[in-house]
Symmetry: C2
Subunit: 314 residues, 2 copies
């Protein structure tokens, strides 16, 4: 048996907007038949719904004389309120149609620390040009924390290095950012004609601390044993390299952003085209704005930074 729907004192007791619409039509036209026609239903259907509405309200709204339908005093009072309900309901529909399809208002964007300072300025410039109505709330952090913030709704989009865990998140590639070798001036590698990953020394690899995806990427590419001291940021890493403590692989956007350091650190692109990382835009898989995110990703991919490549397919 069901949970006896008839007895539960539902807060709205079966009140229906359609019935209110019927009542409005009758009140305006003072004619059940014409009201039914306007509402696109048969006259008996409308009569029955009006009757049901009156039963719900406990008030007779209309006085049915043979030739004339009139509003009762109570009906006059209630129809005024019905008008308000309908106006609010219609406004709801209006508002819903005015809702922007894609991004709007303030959107939370996060970026990994090894990318944000070098890429976000260009991204902001582009977004301001194409969508000046959208404002961003920016956050930097490491991959794990960014994904947490993304999952809990604090952020809506994050810029990461691929791969992004599947399932809870959606992602689209933006560009492939090559890594450059960064070494102290006069380093032996600076003179090689071709510079391959295999050429990298197995010692003196300087890395960021745990949690930076750049650390993992470099480590997996170099097949080297990192030094035990680690840098807490790219800026620190620059200085450690300049101090001659070792070499590292740096993302190209970070390199080109600091031309003034060329005297202190020698940077050189590797000839291995695979040495680098794919930057992706990620979002919650459950976020209904997926289409907008993909559009934004496409836009960003088309306007990728000059030194980067198109991302590898897949």
């Amino acid at each position: 048996m069901n949970t006896s729907p008839a007895e539960l004192p539902r807060s709205l007791a079966g009140l229906s907007l359609r019935d209110l619409e019927y009542a409005q039509a009758v009140a305006e036209l003072r004619h059940f038949g014409q009201a039914a026609e306007r509402c696109g239903v048969s006259q008996p259907a409308l009569s029955e719904q009006i009757r049901k509405l009156e039963a719900i309200l406990g008030v007779t709204l209309f006085e049915r004389a043979r030739r004339r339908v009139t509003l009762t005093p109570a009906g006059t009072a209630l129809l005024a309120q019905i008008e308000r309900v309908m106006a609010e309901a219609r406004h709801l529909l209006t508002l819903s149609h005015e809702q922007p399809e894609g991004l709007a208002g303030t959107v939370g964007l996060g970026a990994i620390e090894t990318l944000g300072p070098y890429y976000l300025p260009a991204l902001l410039r582009l977004l301001r040009a194409v969508r000046p109505d959208v404002s961003l709330r920016l956050t930097e952090g490491r991959t794990a924390r960014l994904l947490e913030r993304l999952a809990d709704g604090t952020l809506d989009m994050v810029l990461l290095a691929a791969p992004v865990p599947r399932g809870r998140f959606g992602a689209a590639p933006l560009f492939f950012e090559p890594f450059q070798l960064a070494a102290p001036p006069g380093h032996a590698l600076a003179g090689l004609r071709r510079l391959m990953l295999d050429d990298l020394p197995t010692q003196d690899l300087l890395l960021l601390e745990e949690g930076h995806c750049l650390r993992d990427h470099a480590l997996s590419l170099c097949d080297a044993k990192p030094v035990t001291r680690h840098a807490t940021s790219l800026e620190t890493l620059w200085q450690m390299i300049a101090a001659g403590e070792g070499y590292s692989l740096l993302p190209e956007l970070a390199v080109v952003a600091r031309p003034e350091l060329r005297d202190l650190v020698v940077c050189r692109r590797l000839d291995d085209t695979t040495a680098g990382r794919t930057i992706v835009l990620a979002w919650r898989a459950s976020d209904p704005r997926e289409a907008a995110f993909r559009d934004l990703a496409t836009l960003l991919a088309k306007n990728r930074p000059p030194c980067t490549h198109a991302p590898a397919p897949g």
Copy 2:
């Protein structure tokens, strides 16, 4: 085939207050299952209605993550409007329960001219004592016009002499008002021990003009040929009688209201108890306030003027 309800652009497009209630519950509890429980439906039913609502609005209101339900930006905006719709709808129910059951506000009351001036003061006094919140809009007129005004809604109640045409109108008797013979001083009838209808002369019967029910009543009782001149009001009739132009039958309330005329006109109650008229309260048969009208009629009957009788049954 029906009139394809799916294609007609109904102004509210199937929007339902119940769905809005479901959406409110989900927005508040952030949990489909708990929201379903609060709404007294199963979780799939609620999910489906939310889905339907989102389709109608063209907006995804909620972001369904496995562990967390959150409002989308558009959902946040629309839920505020949904709150307004629901508030107005709830207010409608509140108002409907506050509607007075019976008479309230201003009620249009009509009375025939041969009764109103003599009875309405007492009626107003009584109504003010028992229902001070009800105010009356008073009209006097002849029976035909009063019934027109009653039918078209200008009036809500009328005081008439029975009978009232059945069908469109409802009516309840208030009291039986005897007629008194009104004759010039020294008239032969003044000396009779018993005064019966048969004793009335067949000549010199003075009457009101056409349209007054009192004229018809007197004429049907007297079996006399009225004089060709007629009075336009009871006051005129008094004066014609005082001038010795003839006699008439006057309703007792009009007689007792004018004690100062006793020197000019001799008034005497007939011994025929049937000589008189039954005053009734009438209303539109279609007026849903019938119970209130009957209650008022009962009240008036219990407080009938001292000189009148209880109405004849039937």
